[in-house]
């Protein structure tokens, strides 16, 4: 990650938006203060459109977090880049729950992908229908009719393919979900939810309705107690109590929000203190949280749940359901997995360098793939052989120590295990399985196996979050940028099942914390280490982090001014 000084940032802003310099000149001159001026040229180079055959062709599928981060960090002068996606914009998805209630406008959280990739790269507004890895081709279909011949199909050739297609919402094949529920993955979903909330209020205030019917229309159900579901429930509660009750005074006492979670608690990836706080806050707000309650069917007017403990099935009438339970694999990825022999897996697997297993020059990152971390136990034999330099059949502490850095880089679970057990160094790790008495250590392969036997149990898949996708994109771009350099001077760990070193270090995720806005300007934040912050201060932290993480100066200013608009005028309830 590059760090910019204020001046660099400002000058980049001038390049992106030439009129900003005009404006700033006006402002600063009139205030008699510092005059900043940047002789702005257009940032979007009208680059040569001829394909440069010396450059390798990189095709990127998708315009979500992973793709955007990859494209933003890639040195596009080194590659001939083409991007294929049905959406010609990147959306800052963590703010989607805010878009559903108009706290932030849809247009403030999107940025045209062409602004991100610049004039050199090419973008095709189409969806990928088939990946043909053996022939290095991608089959695409436009999302709109072109001419009178309907949707057009075309093929794009690649040297390297970067799959960042994201995932689809997972209904777990629950009957009626697809037809009757709202999802919350795309900007359009958020806009639809917003209209639907207003619809429910308009319906509930029509004449000639029974009290029962009014209550039904104002019963909002959120399925899934993860951060998205929780945040949506909180946003909806604020929208209703802060804005809608003024316009629909009769609806006030009829509104009910229910949050259903099949597991034992909401926000289960967060610290327990946060979960407890959230449950108490929701209970004070009148949001009905039901855990251990699994949705088994949704009709057009009622939702049926099964209590996990009692097995009891009940049905509740609703006005609107938002389904936010988890993610599933897209059909085009499933097809691709069959092609490359991954048909037994549930998710597309890559190695630790984000390379798809089973084919060449194809990379996958973000929600559409999982890193298949190599187990220590699978390689214990080759590790032993590499370490045993004198071929004595036993390892000394010195021999293990000489390799430990490479082992930790290649198998990060080893370090995690040592941290978890408060082990200071490799000696403690090796000693652990032996008796205390063996001070001068010499171990055979069985003893090494026994020492490392529990290490692999700590391996966990990375969560399907924007943070992971974004770090993967930046990592992969960095690899691409230094491809030639690292070919000559490999900087990765030792190859245990081969000669020499790996070109790059494997991808490693750094968890920077997570937010869960709980409504009423209360936000819970879980930060690296054991730091948990709850309350107003976290809300400001959330505001500032989210404002700073916006993809461009434009979205940054827009999001902040949306917050100010909301603060002053409340949210709009027009049905558009």
């Amino acid at each position: 990650m590059r760090v910019f000084s204020f001046y660099e940032k400002a000058s980049r802003a001038f390049h992106d938006y030439p009129s900003l310099s005009k404006l700033i000149v006006i402002f600063t001159v009139s205030s008699g203060g510092l005059v900043a001026y940047s002789d702005s040229k257009s940032y979007h180079n009208v680059g040569s459109s001829q394909t440069d055959f010396k450059k390798k062709r990189v095709v990127v599928l998708g315009t979500g977090w992973a793709a955007m981060s990859f494209l933003k960090n890639l040195d596009s002068s080194k590659y001939d880049v083409q991007v294929v996606s049905p959406r010609n914009y990147f959306a800052f998805t963590p703010l989607l729950p805010s878009v559903t209630c108009g706290t932030v406008e849809a247009r403030s959280v999107v940025e045209p992908i062409r602004n991100i990739i610049g004039g050199e790269a090419r973008f095709w507004e189409a969806e990928c229908t088939q990946i043909d890895a053996p022939n290095k081709k991608v089959h695409c279909r436009t999302i709109q009719q072109v001419g009178s011949g309907g949707k057009e199909e075309f093929v794009v050739d690649y040297d390297y393919l970067v799959i960042a297609l994201g995932a689809r919402s997972n209904t777990f094949n629950t009957p009626g979900v697809e037809e009757n529920c709202h999802f919350l993955k795309e900007v359009e979903d958020a806009q639809r939810i917003r209209r639907s909330v207003i619809d429910c209020f308009e319906k509930a205030t029509l004449p000639n309705l029974s009290e029962e019917e009014r209550k039904k229309n104002l019963h909002f159900v959120v399925v899934g107690g993860g951060p998205t579901g929780v945040e949506f429930a909180a946003e909806l509660h604020d929208f209703v109590t802060e804005d809608l009750v003024k316009l629909y005074p009769k609806a006030k006492d009829l509104v009910k929000i229910t949050l259903l979670e099949a597991g034992g608690s909401i926000l289960n990836m967060f610290d327990k203190r946060i979960t407890t706080f959230a449950v108490e806050k929701f209970s004070r707000d009148g949001i009905n949280v039901k855990t251990g309650s699994m949705v088994v069917k949704v009709t057009d007017s009622a939702i049926s749940t099964k209590e996990m403990k009692s097995g009891e099935i009940s049905s509740i009438p609703y006005g609107m359901v938002v389904w936010s339970t988890g993610i599933g694999t897209r059909p085009v990825i499933m097809e691709f997995m069959k092609q490359i022999g991954q048909n037994k897996r549930r998710v597309l697997a890559t190695d630790e360098w984000l390379r798809v297993e089973g084919c060449r020059d194809v990379y996958a990152l973000g929600d559409c793939a999982t890193i298949n971390q190599r187990k220590v136990m699978e390689d214990i034999g080759v590790i032993f052989d590499k370490a045993d330099k004198d071929k004595s059949g036993t390892l000394t502490v010195q021999e293990v120590q000489a390799l430990i850095e490479d082992i930790i880089i290649r198998y990060p679970q080893v370090e995690l295990y040592m941290k978890n057990r408060n082990m200071k160094n490799v000696v403690s790790l090796l000693m652990d399985s032996q008796g205390d008495d063996k001070k001068s250590l010499e171990m055979n392969i069985e003893e090494l196996k026994s020492a490392l036997s529990l290490v692999d149990s700590l391996m966990k898949n990375l969560p399907a979050t924007a943070q992971v996708a974004s770090q993967q994109g930046a990592y992969l771009a960095d690899c691409y940028n230094r491809m030639e350099k690292c070919e000559e001077n490999p900087e990765g760990p030792l190859r245990f099942r081969g000669e020499g070193r790996h070109r790059f270090r494997p991808f490693q995720y750094k968890h920077l914390g997570q937010f869960a806005p709980l409504g009423g300007e209360q936000t819970a934040a879980q930060l690296p280490g054991d730091w948990v912050s709850i309350g107003h201060s976290s809300q400001w932290l959330w505001y500032s982090v989210y404002a700073s993480k916006q993809v461009s100066w434009r979205t940054r200013v827009l999001v902040v001014s949306d917050w100010m608009r909301r603060f002053i005028f409340g949210r709009d309830s027009s049905r558009i």
Copy 2:
């Protein structure tokens, strides 16, 4: 119209948006200046929902300019008001062309109707399917499914009905228009056009397209040279040249905008100087203006026109067509006209007091109705009789002068005629048809007829503009507010065909001028009198007038901040 001082305005703003006072307190305290504080209570009274049977029930159909202006000015404590409309918001339609290109956001030009009518009035989100004047009932149908029974129908009773349903786009039955063209009447239309413009650019930059196909996709056709069509063409040109060419560099030289007008000139309701300027400006900008060219057919890929002079028919391929030629009567109004015996008319007729001809207690205003101004010649006999006080069979100048004020109020065409001919007073009018020699005038009915014979020729229907609708709404609300008072003390002109006076003065339109934004910050303004203003200064005038005319503080701030956003960041091209 009420005039507010700054303090009154500010205090109203505090009432509308309680948090504004918080904010201003913070700002002013921190600047050490004047501290303004308003102890804000909620502006939206949660009024008694019980129908007060002493109050007359006023039902308003529509939430456009006429309805909004009526509702805003009506003293809602005097009536039991119900509003029926499929749109729960008012839209500031003159900015719709700006919304099509993202100069202003859709949400900035709308205001929830419930904010306008306050808590006392009731709003039903439904469309009116039938007006039953004999039984004083309105039949309505919800626009959404309610419960599992589909759309619901209900009936609303009224004592007074105010029809402000607006008009629909008129296709003049041209084949293919309904299916293939965009209209520009509703907020949704503007949003759809915005997506469609981006679609055309995305399509034109797809791989494997011929130059011909790219050009076709980037050919934008606007049908209708009125203010809306002209403004949209100008907005589109700015969007393309200022923003889109940066993102779609290859599209730059392929874009073509064509403006088709069947009549002899564009902007034909404006001064000739403005028309000439607009044509020259468009020609410099490369916008292709074709007058005397009537559209005869639209298919999904080409538009056929007929040259009015030569009769030649030609067909041009297009990417997108926006149809903006005129307005037609809505089906529900046509049904209603049959019912009340107006089936021979093209538009619903009202008298000068906006009362629908042929039924009682029904008023109509805005684009859905026309005032059927009574002709002087129809009433010439009764006018003569009223004026001839001494029943001498001839009128003296004194006798005419005694009545002239009432005549002018009842028949405004008389005043218009006198102004047009530069006549100072009624003597000149009566003298005009006589010889100059007759100084002491005494005229019989034939001579009076001859003097007034040309007066009715000056009668013109009012244009279908927001300005007319808005003035009619305010006028009608004023009549409703003073209904009882004016029953006792009529303030209208003498009834010529009856006894006494009319309760109210008839509606009179005051033309306050008209703007035609021509792109590139050039705006033509035609103001009262003969004042024509063209150029940058008019653009600022336009900005300030349009900003000040916004319906609420919220929309005012939003529109102005949208303009600033556009100035700094350009328009967004994400396809949402």
